[in-house]
């Protein structure tokens, strides 16, 4: 583990479990853990903070010294990557294939052509076309030990990183809370219990407008919840509301996309991908999710 500054956290006990709270990845983070004693709960807090900080420092595109920024800065040249980064990139490539090109970790540059502050915009077709030149996973040379972006391309693992961190942290601390632990990194949730028939955690799904109105409730023991969509981030073009999810195939926001999609699955990484992919299906998001046979909540 690196030398990241330790994240400050708070620890408190309830009747049935410990609550660790900290802030990371631009989100409030919370861990509920049924630990044997305070000593184990502290270990959960320390491990979770360290692992979250490690992943954020390594994969954030906002940090100059992150692996992602190193790759972006050296676009045009081959950058050697470690095992973990290679696995994430490999996963990103698989997501691209599985989504038929809708989910693309190189699509971040398209955001430069759009402002999602709720206002009316007039898209610049030329700019979008030129940005699309720098989008497309197949343009990336990746061979398990190194990656080379085309000049002008940018990698953004933001659509994977937080979910991945939730899974990793839960995995890491599970042995300290065999009766159950739930990791919540800004709404990306992963729960693990080693004891069969452990008491479930009750998770409320909030209205995407952020009014803290629960629109659904889920019991979670072993599994994950991820949400895609942010109701506050949209723009209007000729009076038509468009959400912030961009389709890398067109460079435009997906039309008729739900305001938010919440997916319940076995891992947070998987749930996050399915939620984003559903958004990218626009008007048929529900049909897509129905066909997957998974539990989900769509808000339109």
């Amino acid at each position: 583990m690196g030398s990241e500054a330790e994240l400050p956290y708070t620890l408190r006990a309830t009747d049935s479990h410990w609550v660790v709270a900290f802030a990371a990845m631009a989100s409030p983070c919370e861990i509920l853990a049924r630990c044997r004693d305070e000593s184990d709960a502290r270990k959960v807090a320390v491990l979770a903070c360290a692992e979250t900080a490690r992943i954020e420092a390594k994969f954030s595109r906002y940090r100059d010294d992150s692996v992602v920024q190193t790759i972006n800065r050296n676009a045009g040249e081959r950058v050697t990557v470690d095992d973990e980064t290679a696995r994430l990139l490999q996963y990103a490539g698989q997501c691209y294939e599985l989504s038929g090109g809708r989910f693309d970790v190189t699509s971040g540059v398209l955001r430069r052509a759009w402002v999602f502050d709720g206002g009316e915009v007039s898209p610049d077709a030329d700019r979008i076309a030129s940005l699309l030149e720098c989008v497309g996973w197949p343009k990336v040379e990746f061979d398990d030990t190194g990656i080379r972006l085309l000049p002008g391309m940018e990698l953004d693992l933001g659509g994977i990183g937080k979910e991945y961190a939730a899974d990793r942290v839960a995995d890491l601390v599970a042995r300290l809370a065999p009766e159950g632990v739930m990791v919540n990194l800004g709404g990306d949730i992963r729960a693990i219990a080693d004891v069969p028939e452990a008491d479930p955690w009750t998770v409320g799904i909030e209205d995407p407008d952020g009014k803290a109105v629960a629109i659904g409730q889920i019991d979670l023991v072993n599994g994950a919840i991820a949400t895609s969509g942010d109701a506050r981030r949209f723009c209007t073009v000729d009076g038509v509301r468009l959400g912030h999810i961009l389709d890398p195939r067109t460079g435009w926001p997906v039309e008729d996309a739900p305001r938010s999609v919440t997916v319940i699955s076995d891992t947070c990484t998987g749930a996050g991908f399915l939620a984003t992919l559903a958004m990218l299906h626009g008007p048929v998001a529900e049909a897509f999710l129905d066909a997957q046979g998974i539990t989900f909540h769509c808000v339109r």
Binding site: D37, D171, L172, P196, E197, S265, F273, G282, Q292
Partner: protein, 433 residues
């Protein structure tokens, strides 16, 4: 909009995330640990031993781990040689063949030439074939000056029923070689008289069987099936059946039987000769084991019962109670109590009587006698930080021999199976990394 083969996406996502998360799960998790301990074993007035253990376990990745274990023993002291007490001083040939040892009058003869060091090395490899199937394979090697052992073991376990049930199958095979100094004595062979010509000189002439001969072999095979069942959130039940068979040289080459004078002889009960023991050359062992472990108020209580029987006629019952009680500040107490009772082997006899027909097999080894034993102990462990645990434990073991049939002649005056008391102190240190 294309929605072709959507189900495949979800299945594929599961596979892709498993590949992503599965192998990385240990990237910064504890990847291994070292357990080390030192045991001081002290039989009151008998054997004293020290044992050091270093147990190294390393997780290579999500699916594979291996372990290496090194054990070093050193023991010295006196142990009963099987002979009966006498009103006279008794002289025996020592394990070294030439240097004898004597037993004072009216005392149970002890062989105090006993000293040994042992080195044992074990290696295991554990591999998950999938999320519910685990296989393991191991090798074993140990050596001491007159004994060596090599072995292989393997097993497979599989989870069923939403991981609430685990079935396991284990097997092992060991080949041991016994190479007693002076060669392995013939069954019922007479112990040669000691060549103690005043204690001086080296007693070069060791007579027949000098040197450590080629050694006698012993093959030991074991198989076991186990079932572990989660009863509820707090309770786990374990059941095992095991079968083992040993064949080859099963005698203890240092154990004797006194051939004593019969009722019509001049001194009934006094020894006429010392014969080496004779055991069958095969032994089949079986045991049934059940255990219930329950989590109660943050701690665990573990109660187990074992029933053992073999074709030498030994039956034993073991009841074991162990509890793990966490106390404040990462400390824990572990009280332990065990009760054990075994019946004697069919051919166990405290001595042979002159003139009576000699049976096919006979041994006076106290370990084959009927007896009861109690063990009580307490361990205290301190979790020092995320990675280090220190423990100190003490145990007391006491063995009570059962009273045999009325003894012959002078032997009625002795307790032929005296009490054995053992104190054990173990200090352990576990370091995770």
């Amino acid at each position: 909009m294309q929605l072709n083969r959507p189900e495949r996406i979800r299945t594929a996502v599961t596979a892709c995330t498993a590949a992503l998360l599965g192998t990385s799960a240990n990237a910064s998790a504890q990847a291994g640990k070292v357990d080390s301990s030192l045991l001081i074993y002290s039989e009151v007035n008998r054997v004293q031993a020290a044992e050091g253990v270093v147990d190294f376990k390393k997780t290579v990745n999500e699916r594979r781990s291996y372990g290496l274990r090194l054990v070093l023993d050193a023991l010295t002291g006196a142990s009963p040689n099987g002979a009966t007490p006498s009103t006279h001083v008794q002289t025996f040939t020592g394990a070294s063949g030439s240097t004898g040892y004597t037993a004072p009058a009216n005392e149970i003869p002890l062989d105090d030439t006993f000293t040994d060091k042992r080195l044992a090395l074990d290696g295991t490899l554990v591999e998950s074939l999938d999320r519910v199937t685990v296989v393991n394979a191991g090798g074993h090697f140990s050596i001491e000056h007159d004994y060596s052992s090599v072995g292989l073991s393997g097993g497979v376990s599989r989870d069923f029923n939403r991981r609430n049930t685990t079935l396991s199958l284990r097997g092992s095979y060991n080949h041991d070689t016994v190479s007693p100094i002076g060669g392995a004595p013939a069954p019922f062979g007479t112990m040669p008289p000691p060549t103690n010509n005043g204690g001086e000189g080296d007693g070069e002439g060791e007579g027949e069987g000098g040197g450590s001969g080629p050694g006698e072999g012993k093959n030991v095979g074991d198989v076991a099936v186990g079932l572990s069942q989660v009863i509820d959130r707090e309770t786990i039940f374990q059941f095992d059946y095991s079968y083992g068979r040993s064949s080859g040289y099963l005698n203890d080459p240092y154990k004797l039987l006194s051939l004593v004078q019969n009722e019509s002889d001049a001194e009934p009960g006094e020894p006429l000769a010392y014969l080496y023991e004779s055991r069958p050359d095969a032994r089949s062992r079986q045991s049934l084991f059940s255990e219930v472990r329950r989590y109660i108020a943050g701690g665990t209580v573990d109660v187990s019962y074992r029933y053992y029987w073999d074709d030498w006629g030994i039956r034993s019952n073991t009841v074991d109670f162990l509890s793990h009680l966490p106390i404040r500040g990462g400390r824990a107490l572990e009280p332990h109590v065990r009760w054990y009772r075994q019946s004697a082997a069919d051919f166990y006899t405290r001595y042979l009587v002159d003139g009576a027909s000699i049976p096919s097999y006979a041994s006076a080894d106290a370990r084959l006698a009927g007896f009861d034993a109690w063990t009580a102990g307490l361990k205290l462990s301190f979790t020092m930080n995320e990675f280090d645990v220190l423990s100190v434990g003490a145990e007391y073991y006491t063995q009570l021999g059962e009273r045999g049939p009325p003894a012959i002649g002078i032997l009625q005056n002795y307790d032929l199976f005296p009490k054995l008391d053992v104190f054990m102190l173990r200090v352990g240190f576990t370091h995770g990394f």
